[in-house]
Structures are given as structure tokens and as C-alpha cells.
Symmetry: C2
Subunit: 164 residues, 2 copies
DNA sequence: TTGCTCCTCACGTCACGTGAGGTGGC
DNA sequence: TTGCTCCTCACGTCACGTGAGGTGGC
């Protein structure tokens, strides 16, 4: 009776949630939450309710983290990474994998571009700050915190303006 | 009596919270929350309690967003971006600006490096997937979702493993 | 004076963090 | 059988989202 409600253990190398969490650098709560959302479902549940994962599922977890780091919410991520049991049609399946990879590539490229631009701005700020160190003015309320610069009359680089 | 509890309006070009939010691409709740945390304090409060900001404070808000995007929590960000009223000593002040810029530069470079590596992995995945499209195998439970690849015997690129 | 903006609670939400009390598995 | 791991609630937290009901300012 109890066995009939639980499918048989698949012939895979499966590990318990604690070992999986350690391997993947996460914790039990997060894994349970991801299961609840249908984001990362354990490959098998024992009769006692224990979750069992494939080692390879680490890569799915990593992908979730990457997409979170790019600013996506979990429901948007679930749209991109549908559950494995969803569709058995090979062509549909391949199409969604292609889609997920290309979307990520685009997000990634945009983010890299933005970060490179920000880094250039930070470098400009650091060389400007070197000039400020030799200046007789100081950022304070009365000079609008050196905005604009008392020497050049130009606006400060944004990161310096943020900190003065 | 009421005037004495509120400092006089400074001789700056100040705008109300709604205009500031629009300019900065954020909303009132976020700005009030940042004030509560001491992250971004309005330059002046009217007698009726209205918040007034400098236009240049946009850059501080942008910096907060950048650091959030790099994964920092707001209390860590506040440590990096101390309030302006904190320290009047010029050398101490310059030192903390330099520190904040260099920390951000380091975080940024690490993040860029990681994203570039991820992008390379995604590109490898897309060319591998092109091979998979012409393969007679399909990822399914019985072949451990093509892990390892039935053709090469090698592990799949991680992003493909995540999606198969 | 009217309308629009702003104010302060205060409860809701997302993605978990952190126990409490109880059970499974080598 | 013992110890360690796992289970399911369930309340807490961070960074806001979203009204409710009331007041300020050109």
C-alpha cells in the first residue's frame, strides 16, 4: 500500500538532501523552497519522505544562482527552466533548451557591458580623486559638496559625487 | 518655536521626493527606507515634514544600486558609504572615499571575470547543443538525461546538464 | 480654496533563516 | 538500539510593495 503511492527508486546514483546541499554550496531550506516552487524537484522521494537528488542537479542549482545574480525573480527563472517531466517531444524540448541558452547569453552580455562601463567610470573617478587630494577645496555643504568642481567647473564623475 | 526645531533651508537647489524619485528611477518607499537606514538622508526637511533632496544625490542612489547588484546587503553598503555629516577631517574623508572606490573596483573586476567565464561556458554549450540536435539519443530518465553524453562519453557542459 | 503631493503608520510579499518537535535509515 | 539526518510546520527577517487616512505647499 505504502509502496504503491511512492514510485520505485530509479536506477541512478542518488544522494540525500544534506549531501547535495554541501556539494552545491547551499542549504536545506533553499532546496525545499525550490521544490515548492517547482524549480528543482528531487528525482526521488523515499517512503519516509526523504528527498534524493542526482549529483548532476548541481548544475541546475548553479544556473538558478546565475540567473538570480542577473536580477531575475524565481518565477521568471522557472519560466526559463521548465521541469524535466514537462514535455517528452524531442523537438519542443530542444527548442526550449536553445531558447534558455540564448536568453542567458543575451542577459549576460548586457550585464558585462554595463559592468565594464561602470569600471571605466570608477577608474576615471580614481584619477580625478588623485587631483582632489592636491586641491585646497573640501567638499562641504557651502560649496554643494564640490559640485561642480571648484577648479574645473565641470561635474564630478558620478562615483565621486556619490561619496563627497 | 516650530522654526527653531527645523534648521533653515540650505542655499542649494533642492527638489521634493517625488521629483527626485522620478529622476532617479526609484520610488518613495525605497527613498524613505534608505533614509531610515541612514543610507541616503535628504538634505533638508521642511517644517511640515517634507523631504528635500539635491539632484546630485542621484549618484549616491546609483552607487547603492550598483553595490546591490554586486550582491552586497544594505548594511554592508552603509559601511562603505558613510553619511556626509560623519567626519569633517579632510584626510580621513579622502581616505574613506579612496577606500570605497577601490573596494568597488575590486568587486567589479571579480564579477566581470566570473561573468566572462560563464559566457564562455554558455558559448561552448550552444555549440555542443548543435551537435545534440543531430544525435539519435534523447535526454530521459533511463540514460540519466544524457549524462555523460552517449556519443562522447564526456560530461555535458554544465548549462546543458542543467537544462536536459 | 482646490488639487496634487507629501506625511506616517501598518500590513503584505519574496526568498529565504531559524528553531521546535518528531521520525527515518545505515 | 543509538546517533545522525531528515521531516513538516511555523514564526522571523530583509528590502521593499501597497494601501489607509490625514496634511502641506505653490
Amino acid at each position: 500500500l505504502q509502496r504503491s503511492s511512492h514510485p520505485a527508486r530509479p536506477a541512478l546514483d542518488l544522494i540525500k538532501i544534506g549531501d547535495f546541499a554541501r556539494l552545491a554550496g547551499t542549504n536545506l531550506r533553499t532546496l525545499r523552497y525550490y521544490e515548492e516552487l517547482g524549480l528543482l524537484v528531487p528525482s526521488w522521494r523515499s517512503g519516509g519522505g526523504f528527498r534524493f537528488y542526482r549529483r548532476e542537479d548541481i548544475h541546475r542549482l548553479e544556473m538558478i544562482r546565475e540567473l538570480q545574480g542577473l536580477g531575475l525573480h524565481l518565477d521568471r527563472i522557472r519560466e526559463l527552466l521548465p521541469a524535466r517531466d514537462g514535455n517528452p517531444d524531442r523537438r519542443v524540448n530542444m527548442a526550449r533548451v536553445r531558447k534558455a541558452l540564448s536568453v542567458q547569453d543575451r542577459l549576460l552580455s548586457e550585464r558585462i557591458k554595463a559592468l565594464l562601463a561602470r569600471r571605466r567610470e570608477l577608474r576615471r573617478s580614481r584619477s580625478k580623486l588623485a587631483e582632489c587630494e592636491r586641491c585646497q577645496h573640501s567638499p562641504r555643504l557651502e560649496n554643494n559638496y564640490c559640485e561642480p568642481c571648484q577648479v574645473t567647473g565641470l561635474a564630478l564623475p558620478c562615483p565621486i559625487s556619490a561619496l563627497f
